[in-house]
Amino acid sequence: MATVSEVKTSGPARFDVTRVRADFPILTERVHGKPLVYFDNAATSQKPRAVIDAEQRFYETLCSNVHRGVHDLSERATQAYEATRVKLQRFLNAAESREIIFVRGTTEAINLVASTYGKKHVGVGDEILISAMEHHSNIVPWQMLCEEKGASLRVAPISDQGELILEEFEKLLGPRTKLVAVTHVSNVLGTVNPVREMIAMAHHRNIPVLLDGAQAVAHVPVDVRALDCDFYTISGHKLFAPTGIGALYGKAHLLEAMPPYQGGGDMIASVSFEKTIYNSLPYKFEAGTPNIAGTLGMSAAIDYLNQLGFDRFAPHEHALLVYATKALAQIPGLRIIGTAKEKAAVISFVLDDLHPHDVGTVLDQEGIAVRTGHHCAQPLMERFQVPATTRASLAFYNTFEEVDALVKGIYKVKELLG
């Protein structure tokens, strides 16, 4: 028979932020003599001990190359590497593990699609549709492709709240649209885009859709089959995994029809000077020795997140967002940029006529790490007619007390520079 305490813990357990913080060694760091308040999670997230250990363990106990050794170490490394692919497949709910391609990060994933799918399917007069809230990495690869092919880039507008205007988006889907490439969650505004509807609209016209999932994947559960997106791109380092590792998801039939990305070892079935036969999926797109240690770090990060549970940390993150939004909005002269109804825990703001760079310097002296600048989204800055913003981006290991420290810090900024 269950005891009372067992009954109490059988539902979603309370999220214990103190315990979670203990998993992240860096969170005990001090900056300028103050406890670190890390609010730059949209730039990169911190790594739990389990991830750091996994990378180290690879070099200490498993270091060897994958896919080519007959020796035991190589075999074990290959198994661990491929097990991560399966883990990621399940994490994103892809149909098959061969639909997961390991890359350096979102930027490389998008470039991969632009230079393979794009080169094959985009021609003179064709169009690629993006949105006004894209990161440079989901603008520039398409611009480069358009320039090369004589195609044009179309941009779906957003509202003053920072929400994509769905009707305008739909109007821009035309007979020449060859691909839609949009962000799932904005790195500046925090807006969660209505990607399901957008994908349905595009698919209605047989247009494939790539989602930039760099910001989304650590904050919202991603199910690529439920979304029915054709490509999904992620960066490990924003998912509590090491830098230099990420993944591209692509529907198998699309990936199969795409030419290879880079040439080299591992991506071939056989090579002669007359002809090279390319390897099958996913290896066709993974030339050269991959970031094996990073991959195993990402594996540990996914385990960590699964163990923590989206259903447990997401409410905490959302409560932080609500609390921080309210607290910041009460500061005289502070204006939040991006007030969409559906938001991830990202708050961009401008303060009086102070430049974000000055705001960031003063906050840094208080131990508070925020991002200041254009956040690799210059067209978005122009849309809101600000040269730059200060951005606080939160993660589940942040606390309400840290939000209070930020508010206090902003008052210091006003006192010093106002």
Partner: protein, 149 residues
């Protein structure tokens, strides 16, 4: 907070809020655009050269307190100077903000000495020097926008 007060001295805040010579110049003899991709600071610098001397100098743009104050003070300082004198001031100024200046050299820089606190904030050196790099580009007659990257 003492480092911060050294960085944001009263004169710097004054110039950033009420910049001098913030205006376009229709009859400039040379001009250049400067850009700091890190923070999005932009500056356009206009110069009028007459008889080998800078007879007028102005700027336009948007930037942080450090870059705006630096541009403002630059325009105040350079009137009447020759390009070679301006270049010499930049070199001393650069040494000051990067912490390479000789003891006592700050005094010789006049108003620019208020930027000595920048040397404690290496990421802000680019803000302090943007207008000066742009000046150099304007004097060289370069058409390419300069960036601090």
């Amino acid at each position: 907070m003492s480092d911060l007060h050294a960085l944001y001295q009263e004169m710097i805040l004054d110039h950033s809020k009420h910049p001098h010579n913030l205006r376009p110049m229709a009859d400039a003899t040379c001009s250049a655009q400067g850009y700091n991709p890190l923070c999005g600071d932009k500056v356009a610098l206009f110069l009028k050269l007459q008889d080998g001397r800078i007879s007028d100098v102005s700027f336009q743009g948007s930037g942080c307190a450090i870059s705006t104050a630096s541009a403002s003070i630059l325009t105040d300082m350079l009137k009447g100077k020759t390009p070679a004198e301006a270049e010499a001031i930049f070199e001393k100024f650069h040494d000051l903000v990067t912490g390479k200046g000789q003891p006592g050299s700050a005094e010789k820089l006049g108003k620019l000495a208020v930027f000595s606190g920048v040397s404690e904030f290496p990421v802000r050196v680019k803000c302090a020097t943007l207008a000066w790099h742009t000046l150099r580009s304007a004097l060289a007659g370069s058409q390419e926008p300069v960036t601090t990257e």
